[in-house]
């Protein structure tokens, strides 16, 4: 089946130099249409008529033009001979204008921009009934909305006009500055492209399927043909007869700007400053960017700002200026009213404004836009402004930074290609800077994970790590609970968080910003100037400056992409020499996202282990109940004088002994699911012979009887040299039980060969309990291995001896918890275990005792 398939020209970058060659390649590869990502004035054509003619000659449909503002594109197209026009979220008010002129307008939901989720799309659809939608498979996947479901929903309502086929891997995380570098060629990522193709075919989709990728590791021409191959393989396109004739010689590469009149020395200094800056912190990096631009142009002022747009607000925030310490507005929210807003919306390499004109934005179609800081203009006598948007690597339509240059003189402005080169150098330096910090954060998280056995310990370490890496006052990590219906702070995780309602210390999905981050799986940054001023959260971290109230939320994901936790940070701390306001930025988001990406799998594993331990604990609890009942009956009958009769005694004794045996076995299993609490020693002054060894011998009675081993073959001395010691009698009975049961289990089935001797003596500084066993013994190579958790000798396995390999491991845990040590002091004839206990146990409990 052949569907309508187009190719998007973003692979060629900001300009198309030789449009005829580009169109030839797209046509030869078998596509039916073209979507131009460039601005209308960057297509290398005189006017729309010329463009349309070139397309018609090659039987290609003009699917859309993406670059520039909606008005610019309408003006260029003149007539609605284009399938649809993109509309950005800031241009939605112009939809009626476009529709009146006969154009179809379409919205492309995307990451790191407002209204990306399906739920937002549906609301938009209600507000603007004429609006259609372009669904990008990679963007929807990253946003957590399954693309097949989105396609189904929109197609049902006849709202779907195009599908952008794109693939993605989470290797670079989900933060605004880095996620786009995860875009890959079709088939190279995690997107459910099979499902999408099936759905489109099942529906006989009449809209456009567009292949596009702006950070392909291959040339644009190779990208055209690789996508064509994939589309042909999936039978979305007919195989091109000329595919095989594609050769390297037919390529049209991305434009490489010539050097132009930019002074070599100046550019060299520019690049050098950036090169050294990539090792700095993000805050200092932007200072260096401003300084670098001062090398290439004499300016009264240079400002570097970050651009941020979210569901709640859009604003640009000052990060650096040169010279420093000038009275500049730190934030410009609602910048659409300003000249900088024009520059961002135009997506041009640079925009030049004459500030002496009454309406500097008029020549770009925005006569009402004003310079954002008139006071500053007056104070510094600013005459002109050059605004350079710095685009996101891997997603060149997305603005990342804004550099505003205010030259000393009107002349000396560089060409578009030269500005492009400088801007691109900043993008690459910014990428290197943030990558370096993210990699360092990754390593720190993995190192921390290696040091932690428990999820709580790891989370506590992460809280401290995030505070240091991001430099903020408050950090809390809310985890999805076992039932999956709440976000909670783990018990005993110290975060300084206070809750407004004592009995509601959790978030439901979608509740508050924290719950919304869980629901939508997105990063949110907020600052006090937004519409959230009236928002009173359910909880907050106690910080020094309560009024500052700037926050950032980042989700943790497990390997399957499900949110397992949400991090919230409060109050950014800026270094004293930095003039920018104390606010979280997308750089902070990238760093926390990298930490979350590294930590997510570790938390998943640690919690999994603890869940298994809890499951085992539950199982144990179930077993305990009948055991308690059996012991209860037996105890009652055993000690109730009215019921006791000699004929009952043996049965009762059996019940009692089985019960004791079951208890000892279960305690071993309990140690396996141990937490730190299990190691706590409840010490009592105990005589070893009467309080530990004698009971333990009774406890193995059933094991002895099973093998017909006489209990009298277990001999123990009077322990005259060992006084009463402060030990946990229950735990030490377990030690003896394990040693005895091992002896019984491993001894040959010969009652006469079974001999055990238990003695106690003292030497300098220590009491020694010696356990001797005349069974088969142990190889000296195993002297330490036998104490390992779950270790079983080959012999034991060969002879099918029962057990989990826990006995000696438990022995060592208990002895060490009593500040002692245990070792094998002889390997056979007899095998001898020696338990050494410190002398001070005769008058005080061990250090870890409760």
């Amino acid at each position: 089946m052949n569907m309508k398939v187009a190719f998007q020209t973003i692979s060629w970058g900001m300009w198309i130099n030789k449009i005829e060659e580009v169109l030839n390649i797209i046509h030869k590869a078998g596509y039916q249409g073209v979507e131009f990502s460039q601005r209308p004035d960057a297509l290398g054509v005189v006017d729309f008529a010329q463009l349309f003619e070139l397309l018609q000659e090659r039987n290609l449909v003009l699917v859309s033009i993406v670059g520039g503002t909606l008005k610019e594109r309408i003006e260029f197209c003149d007539e609605p001979k284009v399938e649809y026009l993109y509309v950005e979220h800031w241009d939605l008010v112009n939809i009626p204008f476009a529709v009146e002129r006969g154009f179809t307008v379409a919205f492309h939901p995307r990451m790191a921009a407002p209204r990306g989720h399906l739920v937002d799309i549906l609301k938009l659809s209600e507000m603007y009934p004429d609006l259609k939608f372009i669904i990008d498979t990679a963007h929807m996947t990253i946003l957590g909305d399954e693309p097949v479901r989105v396609i189904q929903t929109l197609a049902e309502e006849d709202k779907l006009i195009a599908v952008h086929l794109k693939d993605w891997t989470p290797d670079f995380g989900r933060s605004k500055y880095r996620f786009a570098r995860g875009f890959t060629t079709l088939g190279g990522g995690y997107v459910n492209l099979d499902g999408v193709v099936k759905e489109l075919k099942a529906r006989h989709f009449k809209g456009w399927i567009v292949a596009e990728l702006d950070n392909a590791r291959v040339s644009p021409t190779a990208s055209v043909y690789q996508n064509a191959e994939w589309l042909t393989h999936y039978r979305l396109m007919r195989a091109s007869a000329l595919t095989e004739s594609f050769s390297e010689g037919e390529q049209t590469e991305k434009i490489e700007p010539y050097l132009g009149k930019l002074p070599c020395e100046a550019e060299a200094r520019f690049r050098e400053i950036l090169m050294y800056a990539i090792k700095d912190s993000p805050e200092t990096f932007y200072d260096c960017v401003a300084k670098a631009f001062s090398q290439v142009l004499n300016c009264k002022l240079i400002t570097v700002s970050t651009y941020h747009s979210s569901e709640f607000a859009e604003f640009i925030t000052l990060r650096a200026c040169y010279p420093q310490h000038l009275p500049i507005l730190p934030n410009v929210s609602n910048f659409r009213n300003t000249l900088s807003g024009i520059a961002i919306h135009r997506q041009a390499i640079y925009t030049h404004f004459d500030l002496n004109e009454a309406a500097p934005g008029e020549k770009y179609g925005y006569p009402d836009r004003k310079f954002s800081d008139p006071n500053l203009q007056k104070v510094l006598s600013l005459n002109s402004m050059i605004t350079l948007p710095i685009f996101n690597s891997g997603n060149q339509n997305a603005v990342r930074l804004l550099v505003n240059l205010f030259p000393e003189q009107a002349g000396g402005i560089y060409s578009e290609e030269e500005w492009y080169r400088l801007g691109r150098a900043v993008t690459q330096a910014a990428d290197s800077m943030i990558d370096g910090h993210c990699m360092s954060a990754f390593i720190k998280v993995n190192r921390l994970a290696g040091q932690c056995d428990r999820a709580l310990e790891f989370l506590a370490g992460l809280v401290n790590l995030i505070k240091k890496v991001i430099r903020c006052e408050g950090v809390a990590i809310f985890c999805v609970n076992e039932r999956g219906d709440r976000l909670e702070l783990p018990d005993r995780l110290t975060t300084g968080t206070i809750w407004r309602k004592e009995h509601e210390k959790f978030y439901r999905k979608g509740e508050g910003i924290t719950g919304s981050v869980w629901e939508r799986s997105e990063i949110i940054i907020s600052n006090p100037r937004e519409d959230l001023e009236d928002h009173v959260g359910k909880s907050t971290e106690i910080v020094a400056n309560q009024s500052q109230n700037v926050n950032i939320w980042v989700p943790f994901l497990d390997p399957k992409g499900n949110v397992i936790a949400v991090i919230r940070c409060r109050n950014k701390i800026m270094p004293p020499h930095i003039i920018a306001p104390s606010m979280f930025s997308s750089d902070d988001a990238s760093l926390i996202d990298a930490i979350a990406q590294a930590a997510g799998p570790h938390i998943h594993i640690l919690q999994g282990d603890e869940h298994r331990a809890k499951s085992l604990d539950k199982l144990m609890h179930e077993i305990r109940t009948p055991l308690v009942a059996i012991r209860g009956v037996a105890d009652f009958l055993r000690r109730d004088d009215e019921l006791r009769g000699s004929w009952k005694y043996d049965y009762l004794g059996d019940i009692w002994s089985w019960g004791e045996l079951m208890q000892r076995l279960m305690l071993n299993a309990n140690w396996f699911s141990y937490t730190l609490d299990s190691l706590k020693v409840q010490a009592k002054r105990t005589y070893l012979r009467a309080g530990i060894i004698a009971p333990a011998v009774k406890q193995v009675r059933m094991l002895l009887e099973e093998k017909d081993f006489p209990a009298s073959n277990i001999r123990y001395s009077q322990f005259e040299q060992v006084p009463a010691l402060y030990v946990d009698p229950n735990q030490f009975q377990q030690v003896m039980f394990n040693l005895l049961s091992n002896s019984i289990k491993h001894c040959y089935n010969d009652p006469y060969s079974f001999q055990v001797e238990i003695n106690g003596e003292q030497s300098r500084g220590e009491y020694i309990i010696q356990f001797r066993d005349w069974g088969p013994g142990i190889s000296h190579k195993m002297r330490e291995r036998v104490f390992e958790e779950r270790f079983r000798t080959k012999e034991a396995i060969r002879r099918n001896i029962t057990g989990q390999g826990l006995g000696l491991w438990v022995v060592r845990q208990i002895v060490e918890a009593h500040d002692g040590r245990v070792e094998i002091t002889q390997f056979r004839h007899p095998l001898e275990f020696s338990i050494y206990l410190p002398k001070y146990l005769s008058h005080m409990p061990p250090k870890s005792a409760y």
Binding site: H503, K505, F506, D617, M620, H621, R624, T625, L627, V628, A629, R631, G632, V633, A634, D635, F636, R639, D640, Q663, N670, T675, D677, S678, K680, N730, Y850
Partner: protein
């Protein structure tokens, strides 16, 4: 006659503990659910000792509290007990392991049923009551 208050939802198992205590000469008030236990405690009865289970269904009284599926109910009852009967000794008797952190936090003794079968518990209760009388 000295009264022992026994609060635990496991009826079958607890009957042996009840009988052992009665054999010891105590009158036993046995309650199996949280609501009746709370009602009784709030009446400030004259008892010599309270023996509580750690994990119990929350009942109507605590249905709006976060009891972690009953894991915290015993602790909530304990607090009520200490508030209403501050001079009466109270211990936990439980089937579960790993409660040492609770014992520390609440400064309360936790006896495990596996280690204290009925008559051993009765002996321990006798000891605690005597100790309390002397204090």
């Amino acid at each position: 006659m000295t009264e022992v208050l026994l609060i635990d939802d496991e009826k079958l198992v607890m009957k042996y503990y009840r009988r052992a205590l009665e054999k010891k000469g105590y009158r036993v008030r046995q309650l199996f659910d949280t609501d009746s236990a709370l009602k009784y405690i709030r009446g400030k009865p004259e008892i010599s000792i309270g023996i509580l289970d750690i994990m119990m269904p929350p009942g109507d009284a605590y249905k709006n509290e976060d009891t972690e599926e009953g894991l915290k109910t015993g602790r909530l009852l304990y607090r009520e007990f200490k508030e209403k009967l501050p001079d009466t000794p109270v211990i936990f008797l439980t089937n579960r392991e790993k409660w040492d952190s609770i014992a520390r936090e609440y400064n309360v003794r936790i006896l495990k049923k596996l280690e204290y079968p009925p008559f051993d518990l009765a002996d321990e209760v006798e000891r605690i009551i005597e100790e309390n009388k002397q204090n």
